[in-house]
Symmetry: C2
Subunit: 395 residues, 2 copies
């Protein structure tokens, strides 16, 4: 396997979710920055890998070097799809990191290249493997929350330092935040919600409206830290601090997602699932069930129930998490990264379909495109393309 | 003072927030149902009032009876504005209960009748007087949260029983839920947010988009309780279970509000305030401040900080709550009702402007009108009328 893109995410995944697997040989490493390549090569060597990987600073040369069966693409957002398409054409199985898209057209290209080549492709949305996300999914599939009519989520993460100066200003987020104004990172929350609502599997997203607040967070942050980031003095950030996006689905459900990455706050993905028999809320990690008298009685004084998800783990932890806990939870982001690479390598070996496929990738990533358009048009509703061309119905 | 509308709310306010005041004489009572009038009259008598109030089943006859200096209008939503206008014309000071509007035109009429008569008018949004709402407002006004760029809120209240059968099916919500599909109750959350964002006082709401989920909650509830509500068997509810509405403001802030009243859940108003120096979140009653190292360190493990609003009460409880606590918290809804009637009677005696005026009422209530239109048009953005006709700028 090769890894293209050795920034924080690529290095992290390599070391925590790939290198520990004896069955995987790292055969190529690539980054546009030589120092990252050298640094990562040294770490791989230190991990005791027998054969040294080939090293590249050109991603296409790397793909075309014939050194790999599979590739992790963890570059800047805008390089994900062109590199994935080239890899698919070369028959290299693709694990593509997340991010939003820039145009609908590139997503159609990804879908069509996949359909032409049938090279295995997985969209690496690790949050689909989160413990709470999978437990709630398990409850939904067992009907515990009834018919789900609304979900919410967000990428609620203070990234001001990373945007301004992370890794010597090399981070791709900076230029995106300076130039664009959109829901630029929807997949952490949409992935788990897509599973709850069977998106592309009997349901699909139909429309979206999006608005952005004004951009005050980065400006104030840079004013307070202008000695640290002199090169950003006076730069104007187009990216609004909070982007609110509401999605409607063919099944009549609604989804509300929030991007909030340039204000001081605690981290959350704001996962919320509301059904006719109950609900889950990440902000206080609680489950409310209509069937439980103690919940109904506490509905005006819910505080004592905060954190009550712990009471449901025994009955509803997802089977893959039960097995993971019985074995050993490892890998980054609380184990999610390990589980997603488990899924990738298992499907690759068995030839089974990837659990998060190219249609999921296209329909989740297009949110960034449609939100950018909706914001620019004052919150106008935009229609989702059907990347499955009708196959979501019979799925 | 007279009270028109003696359902749950009218009776509650009368007994908890008005009757205990020695300075207020209840001189008239009115409801379209005779039994409510008789029942309330008996309670007023039992409270030891010297002169018995005049009793009415016709609201206009009540207003025209010359028996009152002020009136509380706590009828069904659709009667609020016509009755308020008649009272203003008769020189009777109006305390008008909350609810959404049905047309933009009726709101203009209310504004114009007020401007012609200058009779005192207060919109009785009790949540503007909530302890947390006022504490957060106090922090915002002191700059503790920095520049506020986004707020959220909701009316998140399981009303299935009340909608289906409350008070022998007399509740006005039922017909609204059968016929309309909108953000029908926006003011509990918009009131406090309006204060945070200085709406109508240097800022105003510009646009709104709204979508509704499908309506599954009431149908399932009635199927489970069809012995209790046989007359509702097979009725179709147009009101979606969850309505998501996003508002943009002239100052560049965004507001997201949610109506969620026909699903099982705990009560919340989902109040959230996000600024450049910190945030408040009602769902876990916490405050995050960029200036506090303990908060920044806990940003990935926020759970220990849940409920930390208690740590801020000493420094930031609003002066009116400090006085209330030092005296005696009383009245319904945790004291909010008492404080709002304090504000009404104080302004009435002093001749000072009412704290929640006719322009607040019109711009908050019009949300129900615009949301109904936006939902019907597939989430189309709708523009807010400026009921102040420019006076919000110089306020």
């Amino acid at each position: 396997m090769g890894v293209i893109g050795l920034g924080g995410r690529g290095q992290d995944l390599l070391q925590q979710a790939i290198l520990p697997r004896a069955e995987v040989a790292i055969t190529a490493l690539c980054d546009r920055y030589q120092d990252r390549v050298d640094d990562t090569a040294a770490k791989v060597k230190a991990a005791g890998i027998v054969s040294e990987p080939a090293l590249f600073t050109d991603a296409y040369a790397c793909l075309e070097s014939g050194t790999m069966d599979a590739v992790l693409i963890s570059t800047s957002w805008e390089e994900h799809i062109p590199l994935a398409c080239r890899a698919l054409e070369l028959g290299i199985a693709v694990a593509m990191e997340v991010g939003g898209a820039y145009s609908e057209r590139e997503l159609w290209t990804l879908v069509e290249v996949y359909e032409k080549t049938r090279t295995p492709f997985m969209f690496m949305e690790n949050c689909c493997f989160g413990r709470d996300e999978l437990m709630v999914l398990n409850m939904v599939k067992q009907g515990i929350l009834g018919e789900v009519v609304h979900c919410a989520g967000g990428y609620l993460h203070d990234l001001r330092d990373e945007i301004a100066g992370g890794e010597q200003n090399r981070h791709y987020r900076l230029e995106n935040y300076l130039h664009r104004n959109t829901e630029n990172y929807p997949t952490h929350e949409i992935g788990p919600i897509a599973r709850v609502l069977d998106l592309n599997r009997g349901n699909r997203m139909l429309t979206l409206t999006s608005v952005a607040s004004r951009a005050a967070g980065m400006t104030e942050y840079l004013e307070q830290n202008d000695d640290t980031y002199p090169e950003l003095k006076g730069r104007i950030f187009r990216q609004g601090d909070v982007v609110s996006t509401t999605i409607t689905c063919a099944g009549g459900q609604t989804i509300h997602i929030t991007l909030d990455t340039t204000l001081p706050r605690y981290y959350s993905r704001g996962f919320t699932v509301s059904g006719t028999k109950g609900m889950y809320c990440e902000e206080n990690q609680s489950i409310f069930l209509d069937s439980e008298e103690s919940h109904r009685k506490a509905h005006f004084s819910w505080r004592a129930q905060w954190g009550n998800v712990e009471n449901y783990r025994g009955d509803f932890d997802h089977p893959i998490w039960q097995a993971f806990l019985a074995d050993e939870v490892r890998g980054g982001h609380g184990g999610m990264d390990w589980l997603e690479f488990d899924a990738f390598f298992e499907a690759l070996k068995s030839g089974e379909p990837m659990p998060i496929d190219v249609y999921d990738a296209a329909s989740w990533m297009v949110i960034s495109v449609l939100a950018e358009q909706s914001i620019a048009l004052g919150g106008q509703p935009m229609a989702f393309p059907d990347f499955t061309r009708g196959r979501w119905i019979a799925h």
